[in-house]
């Protein structure tokens, strides 16, 4: 069965303490993998799209990487404003819907 799993469920970091969030997927025929950020009471905000193994994308303190089985969202020297839930989603070649993981809730403590 196709599945998207994110870990950890929750992560608390000190400001400046770098870490990584994981998204593992077991889908047949990946069209793309997407990272979103969601703040409380808001809709998900698009961050990155990755299409093929080995691809990397960067934006400010965030860097997303992709292998054939998983993606990592690396957060370098996080700030309190990076606190949010980070969602991973995959889209398959055979369809159009996005399959979402349950997210990682990140808290960055000043």
């Amino acid at each position: 069965e196709d599945q998207v799993t994110q870990s950890p469920e929750a992560l608390r970091l000190q400001e400046g303490e770098s870490s990584s969030l994981n998204c593992s997927y077991t889908v047949s025929g990946l069209r793309g993998l997407f990272w979103y950020r969601q703040d409380p009471g808001k809709g998900p905000e698009f961050l990155f799209t990755l299409y093929s193994a080995g691809e990397e994308k960067e934006k400010e303190r965030l860097k997303a990487t992709l292998t054939k089985k998983e993606s990592f969202l690396h957060i370098t020297a996080p700030k309190p404003e990076d606190s949010a839930t980070y969602l991973c989603a995959v889209q398959m070649n055979t369809g159009n819907q996005f399959y979402f993981g349950t997210g990682t809730s990140l808290t960055v403590i000043p």
Binding site: Y36, T49, L87, Q91, G95, N96, F98, T102
Partner: protein
């Protein structure tokens, strides 16, 4: 508008009533999605539109749920005879055919 707009932002309704939720996608986006997010749960796919047609309705949980899209733009999600388990945040997203989707702020539905 610049982004996906959903209305109302909040809706409280009595059990058994019908509700309509509206989504205005980004201009020019041909693909439109409805998702549901319950407290502590992941995003649950409901329906996908390409233009005015819905090639994938596989996520609609029951025949009480229906959706339409007119003019390749605005979409309405209708829930008939609402139940308490329908309480959730309903999210709409749009994209250019395939690829990254942009979400609205959602409609928080509470059935009392």
């Amino acid at each position: 508008g610049a982004g996906v707009s959903q209305s109302p932002s909040n809706k409280v309704t009595e059990k058994g009533k019908d509700v309509e939720l509206r989504c205005d996608p980004i201009s020019g986006h041909t693909a439109l999605y409805w998702y549901r997010q319950s407290l502590g749960q992941g995003l649950e796919f409901l329906i996908y539109f390409q233009g005015n047609s819905a090639p994938d309705k596989s996520g609609l949980p029951s025949d009480r749920f229906s959706a339409e899209r007119t003019g390749g733009s605005v979409s309405t999600l209708t829930i008939q005879r609402t139940q308490q388990e329908d309480s959730a945040v309903y999210l709409c997203a749009s994209s250019l055919y395939q690829g990254k989707a942009f979400f609205g702020q959602g409609t928080r539905l509470t059935v009392v």
